[in-house]
Structures are given as structure tokens and as C-alpha cells.
């Protein structure tokens, strides 16, 4: 089934910001970044935390990919693919929004 209202996937020139409904922070007791929201907790793995930390409305997706490729050297294509996939999932979950 095709959903014509489905948002387009992230593009290199776009910028993303955290949905203000969510609190993003480092949580020492979990040794991880977490997202906190009304009655909910999301524990993020390292890569997810790296990406959300950079969804600041200033960096473009291309900037983000570049930084993650530097942070995880070796397979640039895989890192880029991972960033795009994560962004799309996070946006679908409502954690981040496309900057207008």
C-alpha cells in the first residue's frame, strides 16, 4: 500500500532538530544517552546518541554524515547509509523533526 502522505526520506541539505517534547541527555546510571518524555524512556545506543546529539538545527544531514564518518572510520558508505536510516526511523518515531 502506498501512503501518499508519507514524508520523503532525509536529504543531504536538510537540518533536523529534536522534538521539544523530548529531553535528551546522558544518563550515568544507564551509561548511555536517553530520551525522556511523558511516562516514557528510550535508551539509545552509542550511534543513535551520536546522531541525535547532532540534530541541532544547524548541522545539515551531509555535515552529520561527515562527522560520523570521521568518528567511525573504515566504511564510509555503511556509515552514511546508517545515518540516513536512523534519521528516517527517528523522524517516524517523532523524536526529531525536519527544520522548516
Amino acid at each position: 500500500m502506498t501512503d501518499i502522505t508519507a514524508p520523503s526520506p532525509p536529504a543531504a541539505g536538510e537540518r533536523y532538530v529534536l522534538n521539544p517534547m523530548y529531553l535528551f541527555r546522558w544518563e550515568p546510571t544507564q551509561d548511555a544517552h536517553v530520551l525522556l518524555y511523558p511516562e516514557g524512556i528510550v535508551k539509545l545506543n552509542q550511534t543513535a546518541g551520536d546522531i541525535i546529539a547532532r540534530c541541532d538545527g544547524r548541522r545539515t544531514v551531509a555535515d552529520l554524515v561527515g562527522e560520523l564518518q570521521q568518528r567511525y572510520p573504515g566504511d564510509d558508505e555503511r556509515v552514511a547509509e546508517g545515518v540516513y536510516k536512523f534519521l528516517e526511523v527517528f523522524r517516524a518515531k517523532g523524536w526529531i523533526r525536519r527544520q522548516a
Binding site: 502522505t5 508519507a6 521539544p20 517534547m21 529531553l23 544518563e27 546510571t29 544507564q30 536517553v34 525522556l36 518524555y37 511523558p38 511516562e39 516514557g40 524512556i41 528510550v42 535508551k43 539509545l44 545506543n45 543513535a48 536510516k85 528516517e88 526511523v89 517516524a92 518515531k93 517523532g94
Partner: protein
């Protein structure tokens, strides 16, 4: 959209991620589905002091608690609420205020914002003024709407919690429109769970399967229409599910509730279960209560399970359902939750539904939650006797708890 296979349930790794403080059982409303114990009015221990609550919060944080709920009764009746919220924020909690809205003024909202309160969950019982005021036993409707707009004006994320039962289940569309107008972020239709006061009034409150299906259709249509503007939860009543709820993500797994008198409980209803002791934070450390108390240990793992549950391929998913419901309906908290179609007691659910909808059944007046009825029930005994669970402030019974892991 890519499939997201990386999200799994997190078991809390033995930490009480969710700490709920029932600051008081006092409440200006008289909701006949209240999840506070039916005998709340009997003489008992005094409410914890400000200093005692602060110690609980500090020890909870040390145990790894992240989410903190202030509930009751009506938590706004504690005039130290702002002080407690400020303390909780400083400790690093995400703070949730679960309230009827009665007593929430512009000034208190500002003070709570300044204290660092993260979000407010406001209850609303109906889209109709007269019905609301009748159901809660007070003139509350206009006040609730006013408060709802003030909450948004102060910039709080807001959950509108609607306890769902026979009297309001036909109003889903109207309530949705109200919520849209207010601009709530999360709308939660929570079919009430039948414990304590709701159990007393079950025959009058339980909706039919058809009513629930119709309500769910409205919710689905609204989700499509509203997209990301509003998140809408619809908590199905387990009586009609066939599968039991994964209550509290398992007993003593991530959830810790402290009653007004300091009793530590694995859920807000747990004192319903007779034969269990619920030691107080006045006598024990939170670490002992969570890690070592026999009550919290009692239904962890699967050794306690009946053969029905222990051999079940879904035991990791639903943990055998709700211990309180098993006790209330079968007399043994270790039994499979009768809401489960595999339970040998499942017929009790069908019988309860049939009784509530029997043709020619004589309609009874709702037994309102008030001190007189509480004292009477404390003596007379009923489905909820001895129960000392606690409120979500608004009757959703079991708080929604979401824990994701990426």
C-alpha cells in the same frame, strides 16, 4: 519507511526506572472508578513528610530511577509539591504531575514550571459539562478546560488522560475535538481497569465489546487525520482482549510505587493482595525494599507461576498478566490472570461481562468515592476490600510505561 528492527523491550536491568509517589489519598473529586483503596478513609499512618519524600526521591535516584510521577489522590493538595518538584529536578528525574487539575492556578503553574516540572497529565472524564460534574461529584468541567489551556500557555508538554467506561465511551469524537482545540500533545483513552472503586462499580461501568470497537474506529480515523500533531493512545480493556496485559512490565521489574503512608508497592493496586506485607520507607531503605523485600521478590522470574504460565510461550511477553487481578478474581495471586484465554478461570471474565450487560439488569447508583462510602466498604467488605493500591489521580489504573531501547 524502513523496518525498525532494532527496538526491543528493555527490562530495566533490575532498576526501578519508574518511581511513583502517591503524595496523598485526599482528593476533591469523588470518581467512582478511583484506583485508590476503597478503605482509604480508615485510620492509618500519617502521610510522609516533606523530608521523608525527599529521602525517597534521593534513594530512588541512587537505584537508577529516571521517571518520577507525582500522583494521589490529588497531589496539588500537598502545599510542598513545588518544593518536591524542585528537589526531584535537581536530582535529575523526568517529572510527571498526574492531576485532576483542581487547585491548579496560574500562580502554581508558574511555580511548578520554575521548579522544573517536565510534564502535566490532566484528567478529563467527558466532553459534556453535566456528565463530567455528575461523574466526578463536583463542578469540575469548566475548571478543567480552563486549566488545560493554561497548562499549554505555560508551555508544558501535556497528556490528556480520559478514563473510559460505559458512560463516556460514546463521546470519543467529541473528546478528540476538545483535545485538538486545547492543543494537547498526547491524548490517552484509558479503558479503566477493574480494581478498588471501579471493581465496586463494575456492573455500571463496563462497556460492551461493540462500544469499544466503535471507539477504537474513531481513534484510528483521528490518528490518520491528525498525523504527528497529536499522539493518541487507546488502552484496551483486558476483559475483551483474550491476552493479559504485561502488567507493570512484570512484578518488581521497573515499577516502584510509594503510598502516602510510605508503603512500598510493585504497583499502585498491590495492597489488594491479602497475605503480602508492604513495609514502609519509614522503616526500611528503598534499596532493601526493592532488592530484598520478600514482597518484591515474590513474583519475579517464573518459579512462582502456575503450570499454565510456566509452560506458556508468551510468559516472557506478558509475565502471566496482573497479580492483583488474579487475586481479586480467583483468590490466588499466583494464578494465571483470568483475562488470559488460557487461564482455567477465564470464564469468570465472561461471566462478569454477561452480568454487567444482562437484559433487565437493575441499574444501581454509582458508589462514589467519598469518606462515608470508604468507611462503610472498609467494614463491609467488597471486591476491593483490604486493597490499598493507589491512584493515578484519574483512574487509568495501571500507568502506561514505555521503555524502548535502540
Amino acid at each position: 519507511m524502513p523496518k525498525d528492527g532494532s527496538v526491543v523491550r528493555l527490562d530495566g536491568q533490575g532498576k526501578p526506572l519508574w518511581l511513583v509517589l502517591e503524595l496523598t489519598y485526599r482528593c476533591p473529586l469523588k470518581c467512582p472508578w478511583c484506583s485508590n483503596p476503597v478503605d482509604y478513609a480508615r485510620d492509618g499512618e500519617a502521610e510522609l513528610s516533606t523530608a521523608e519524600w525527599k529521602r525517597v526521591m534521593r534513594e530512588g535516584r541512587e537505584l537508577g530511577a529516571l521517571q518520577l510521577g507525582f500522583t494521589g489522590g490529588e497531589p496539588l493538595l500537598r502545599d510542598d509539591l513545588e518544593e518536591l518538584v524542585a528537589d526531584a529536578s535537581a536530582l535529575g528525574y523526568y517529572t510527571n504531575l498526574i492531576t485532576s487539575g483542581v487547585g491548579l492556578t496560574e500562580n502554581r503553574l508558574r511555580a511548578l514550571k520554575a521548579a522544573g516540572l517536565n510534564q502535566i497529565q490532566l484528567s478529563l472524564q467527558s466532553s459534556d459539562r453535566e456528565l463530567t460534574d455528575t461523574l466526578v461529584g463536583a463542578r469540575a468541567f469548566d475548571l478543567k478546560l480552563k486549566v488545560a489551556h493554561q497548562i499549554k500557555a505555560q508551555g508544558f508538554p501535556m497528556v490528556l488522560n480520559v478514563p473510559v467506561f460505559r458512560q463516556n465511551i460514546g463521546q470519543v469524537a467529541d473528546i478528540l475535538a476538545l483535545a485538538e482545540d486545547i492543543g494537547v500533545d498526547y491524548l490517552e483513552f484509558a479503558n479503566i481497569q477493574y480494581y478498588n472503586w471501579a471493581m465496586v462499580n463494575r456492573d455500571e461501568l463496563l462497556p460492551t465489546r461493540e462500544q469499544i470497537d466503535a471507539a477504537e474506529r474513531e481513534v484510528r480515523a483521528a490518528r490518520e487525520r491528525l498525523g504527528e500533531r497529536m499522539t493518541i493512545y487507546f488502552v484496551i480493556p483486558d476483559y475483551y482482549e483474550g491476552r493479559p496485559k504485561a502488567c507493570m512490565n512484570g512484578w518488581g521489574s521497573i515499577h516502584l510505587t510509594i503510598a502516602p503512608d510510605g508503603a512500598a508497592m510493585p504497583c499502585q493496586e498491590a495492597r489488594i493482595i491479602q497475605g503480602l506485607e508492604f513495609p514502609s520507607v519509614r522503616d526500611k531503605s528503598l534499596a532493601w525494599l526493592w532488592n530484598e523485600s520478600p514482597t518484591f521478590e515474590k513474583f519475579r522470574g517464573d518459579a512462582w507461576m502456575s503450570p499454565t504460565c510456566r509452560s506458556c510461550d508468551e510468559k516472557e511477553k506478558d509475565f502471566g498478566g496482573c497479580r492483583c487481578q488474579a487475586f481479586l478474581m480467583t483468590g490466588d495471586a499466583a494464578n494465571t490472570d483470568p483475562a488470559c484465554s488460557r487461564s482455567p478461570h477465564h470464564h469468570l471474565i465472561g461471566e462478569a461481562i454477561a452480568r454487567a450487560h444482562a437484559p433487565g439488569r437493575k441499574v444501581q447508583p454509582l458508589v462514589m468515592r467519598n469518606d462515608g462510602n470508604s468507611r462503610r466498604l472498609a467494614q463491609g467488605g467488597h471486591g476491593g476490600k483490604g486493597g490499598s493500591g493507589g491512584g493515578t489521580g484519574c483512574g487509568s489504573g495501571n500507568a502506561r510505561v514505555e521503555v524502548d531501547h535502540v
